[in-house]
Structures are given as structure tokens and as C-alpha cells.
């Protein structure tokens, strides 16, 4: 349980650091093609996949928190960690296949 929470926190921090970069790139407007060519590089592709996984991880962990805080307590809530992980895996796979 603690590991899920830790992943949730670390993915959040990573995303918070990544977002300004993401916004900066998109704000480039007409120069986007040049930037997009740079993103074709495999290392960057791996980075993009990493971002998607971080986002899915944070979403999964976040849904777990919302479920525990807003729904009445049930034993199955302890298993939410596993469900969150499944979501993450799914998202990572989908993105990898789409590339």
C-alpha cells in the first residue's frame, strides 16, 4: 500500500516538472515541425512512453485515494493498489502499441 502511495507521489512530482516543458513545446506553434522531428528519436519516444506511464500511474493512484476517501470503508479497498497497477499497465501497453 505504501509503495502505491510512493509511486503516486513520485509520478506526481515528475509530472509537475515535465508539464512546463510540455507546454513550452506546444507553445512553439509554427516551429512545431522542427520539434516534432526531434521527437522521432528513440530516446525521446521512450521518454514519451515514460510520461504516459507516469500519468497513468498517478491517475491510478489518485483514483485509489478518491475511492478510500469518498466511499464507505470496505475491505476490497485494500486491493485498489492492484487495480491501479492494472490500469497503468494497460495504458503503457496501448501507447507502446500505438507508436
Amino acid at each position: 500500500m505504501k509503495t502505491v502511495a510512493l509511486i503516486h507521489r513520485l509520478s506526481g512530482v515528475a509530472l509537475a516538472l515535465f508539464l512546463p516543458v510540455h507546454f513550452w513545446a506546444l507553445g512553439k506553434g509554427l516551429a512545431l515541425d522542427q520539434f516534432l522531428r526531434w521527437t522521432e528519436q528513440p530516446l525521446v519516444k521512450f521518454g514519451e512512453w515514460g510520461i504516459v506511464v507516469l500519468l497513468a500511474a498517478h491517475l491510478g493512484g489518485g483514483l485509489r485515494v478518491l475511492a478510500i476517501e469518498f466511499l464507505d470503508w470496505h475491505e476490497w479497498q485494500k486491493s485498489l493498489a492492484a487495480i491501479a497497477a492494472a490500469l497503468v499497465f494497460g495504458a503503457g501497453l496501448a501507447f507502446a502499441l500505438a507508436l
Partner: protein
């Protein structure tokens, strides 16, 4: 702040799901700027969607970082709040700039 965080979280859960699904769909087989802009420029619906997305993020990210600063960096007090506010405003500004560049 707790309410704002949970409300923005719920909103983002939806936005992120839509965003991820859209990106996975759009990215199939590669992307150029022309392709992107052909679909997005002048699209008011997506403009509205991403504006909501950006503002929710600008609320959610700073509040999320707050306990990390207290618990892992030992940072408390006014300076922390000011830094987080500045970060939120930065995200909102850069985010809207990006949204307008892509959708306006």
C-alpha cells in the same frame, strides 16, 4: 484546499482519460505539425476542453507538491505558499499559451 484538490482530481481523471485516449489514437503511425494543426486549429470544442484541463492542472499540481515540500524538503511558511502560487500561475500561463497556439 482539500476540496479544491479532490475536485480538480476528479475533473482531471476525466480529462486525462480523454487526453490519453486521444493521443494514443492520434499518434498511430507518426505525426507532423501540419497533421496536428489540421485537426485542431479553430476547433472551439477542443479549445474549451483543454482550457478546463489546463486550469484544473494549475490548481492540482501546486496543491499536490505542497505536502512533498513540507515532508521531504522541510519547507514551511509563507515562502512555500508564494512559490507554489507562482508555480500555479506559471502553469496556467504556459498552458493557456500552448492551448491558444494549438487550437486558436
Amino acid at each position: 484546499m482539500w476540496i479544491a484538490q479532490r475536485a480538480s482530481a476528479a475533473l482531471l481523471a476525466l480529462c486525462v482519460t480523454v487526453h490519453l485516449a486521444t493521443i494514443v489514437y492520434a499518434v498511430r503511425g507518426g505525426l507532423t505539425a501540419a497533421e496536428i494543426f489540421a485537426r485542431t486549429r479553430g476547433n472551439v470544442a477542443w479549445l474549451a476542453f483543454y482550457t478546463v484541463f489546463v486550469l484544473a492542472v494549475a490548481v492540482h499540481a501546486p496543491i499536490g507538491l505542497r505536502p512533498v515540500m513540507t515532508e521531504w524538503l522541510g519547507w514551511r511558511g509563507k515562502s512555500r505558499e508564494l512559490l507554489l502560487l507562482a508555480f500555479g500561475l506559471l502553469l496556467a500561463w504556459m498552458g493557456m499559451r500552448a492551448v491558444l497556439a494549438v487550437f486558436a
